[in-house]
Symmetry: C2
């Protein structure tokens, strides 16, 4: 067993669910903050817990280069390495390698690329990407895929999609043969479990080394560019290989938002209803709410933290640029509707000052607020669904 | 009334005390972290509270330039501006202006200097430095002084010391005439008080606008270079002007540590025993413990946070450079004897990774630990004194 996914309510295509992983239960739809190299930039793990982060994403490409898979594996995987006992997910490295542009070469076997750090040459194949992700030990890992560039000719998009399907099959084969090697299936797992906050259903009943101990879950990724027919084919062929969850990749690569929306909608139709659906690398707070209502269960995006570092803050009153002079003497909270530790304590004037003075604390506090705003957005989506379909509103009881 | 200082125990020249200010009681000897522009770099105010920071230092020069005194004053002073309701102290700007080297010109009237930010020209006089510090509203503020360069000829050191004495008198005159203008003596003060955590003796009995409401406390500064006789004369003449506390300035400016030690020791002899003594801008953890045992009550230093940002960490096992490869797979805590939130949760391997990857969180976590180490050092000094002179060791009861 890898994960369990239980749908507790639906509202149109949207689903309220519980995704049970080796390190705990995730309420879906869920937003997953990005912790590129085993850290969400500027935000400590205890603050992430306080914010209600349910699952963290790590980037295999970055972790593979630094600190290296072996270092992470020896410390019990990402959970032990970064002292994070809630669920985690790693991408396959495919998207990051895709982003390297001039530094990569794709063949049937895999991708040869040069490190953005020192120019050293490396190869990712479906097999080596799985080995890396098994060593990193995230609860959910991703098949190795090729992210099709945008724009792409139809034949190019088809070839790329078909390569991704073949790589998905190889990823699954390698994973099935090696899934017992995940670092927390060793005796070390019991050490980690004892530090768990109890949110996991798994720690009490599992015996390390027996079938009771869960494995990682490998998700397949649908590609196919901006072509609905290719997306359909990719979805069907990926589902045919069979995974416990499916991702929609290759979006937010430069296409207009309407196209993203259309491709997401049409692809979701071809994914099984009883499996979690993960839309990779999107979007603004408004967009993640929309995608959740379309039936997406999981999303990640660097936007909240990246925007925060540039002083762009999401609030219930819209996006603001905290560097603007109009905030210099604004004693009000960043977002009056937000109860995060930043909005409860600091004024816009103080946040504006920290940003203008290029202070570290600006990046820290801005990141905390933006993450809080994303997590609140998804909490509201879940509460709405729970209210409509499970718990009647209190006034009607 | 500005402050009250009560000595609760002595051990040789060392003193265990309670310093009561408008925003709370400080146990001395105390280490004061530096929050240059109203932020301790990378560390949020709630973490500072958790670390047990009793009093924060701000730099008048930096705050005067950015965000400007008016902005801070309108928000209730530093306490309101940075949402910090424990005691604060500002320096006079003299030391920072001194550090500008080529950018300043000293006359009897004051110092003309150019901003390190934009080259704009400004003047600090004893009067304008007081006005700035009254606007910033720290609980303890400092007379405007000239920090004598090192090395200096004796005549140069004498002239500089005498200038500082004349400036001290002018500082006091201006302060006495304007001390009611501190922002928290207005109605705003009651707002601030209601947010207070209750550690202050002052909030219950004070009525804003009456004599019951405390003022800031202005401390004098002893100069005199590395000349014991000049230091003696500076101390006597500063004490003659009369302040509720005295600082030893002009040290840690390049002189050997033995000289610092000698000047501190000889200057302390000439300072009144019933007033708090503040040694400015020192030192390593070992040094601050030594100075406390010599009879210094208050110290500040940027070293814990500055060193942290360079990966230099103070531990019970000595100073370490976390960037070293030998920590890459070290699963142990940074300092096994430390119970701070960094040492309780993260491994040296993780901290080394964060630093090597140039991650924001490295600076945040390193700063938290180093501050914790400094604060623990001073807590131990206080506990020792309390144990010897007030509370007999439990085994002897």
């Amino acid at each position: 067993m890898s994960i369990q996914f239980q749908i507790e309510a639906t509202r149109g295509p949207a689903r309220l669910g519980k995704l049970t992983t080796a390190h705990g239960v995730i309420e879906t739809p869920v937003f997953m903050p990005v912790g590129t190299v085993a850290t969400v930039k500027g935000v400590s793990q205890d603050v992430l817990e306080e914010l209600g982060v349910q699952i963290l994403l790590g980037n295999t490409y970055h972790l593979y280069l630094r600190p290296g898979v072996d270092v992470v594996r020896r410390m019990g995987g990402l959970h032990g390495f970064m002292s994070w006992n809630r669920p985690t997910l790693t991408d396959s490295g495919g998207f990051q390698v895709f982003s390297l542009n001039e530094l990569r070469k794709v063949t049937e076997e895999g991708v040869t690329f040069r490190s953005h750090l020192d120019g050293s040459s490396h190869v990712f194949t479906p097999e080596s990407a799985m080995a890396a992700q098994i060593g990193l030990g995230a609860d959910i890992i991703m098949a190795f895929d090729e992210c099709t560039e945008y724009p792409a000719e139809r034949e190019r998009a088809r070839a790329s999609m078909e390569l991704t399907v073949r790589w998905a099959a190889r990823s699954k084969t390698y994973f099935d043969e090696h899934k017992d090697e995940v670092p927390w299936r060793s005796s070390r797992f019991s050490v980690l479990s004892s530090q768990n906050d109890g949110s996991s259903f798994t720690t009490e009943n599992w015996e390390p080394g027996t079938g009771n101990c869960p494995t990682q879950a490998l998700f397949g990724i649908v590609q196919g560019g901006m072509d609905r027919e290719l997306r359909r084919e990719s979805a069907l062929r990926t589902v045919e290989i069979g995974f416990p969850g499916y991702a929609i990749g290759g979006l937010s690569v430069g296409e207009p938002r309407e196209v993203t929306h259309e491709i997401v909608a049409s692809t979701l139709e071809h994914l099984p209803e009883d499996k979690p659906r993960y839309l990779m690398g999107v979007g603004t707070p408004d967009e993640i709410a929309v995608y959740a209502k379309m039936g997406v269960d999981m999303m990640d995006c660097v936007l909240p933290t990246r925007a925060a570092r540039h002083g762009l803050l999401f609030t219930s009153e819209g996006k603001i640029s905290i560097k603007q002079a109009r905030f210099a003497q604004d004693e009000g909270p960043l977002d009056p509707a937000c109860s995060c530790r930043v909005c409860s304590r600091y004024s816009r004037a103080y946040l504006r000052h920290l940003y203008a003075a290029n202070e570290l604390l600006a990046q820290v506090l801005n990141s905390i607020h933006n993450l809080s705003f994303y997590l609140d957005t998804m909490r509201r989506v879940r509460a709405e669904m729970a209210g409509y379909d499970i718990h009647p509103p209190k006034s009607k009881v």
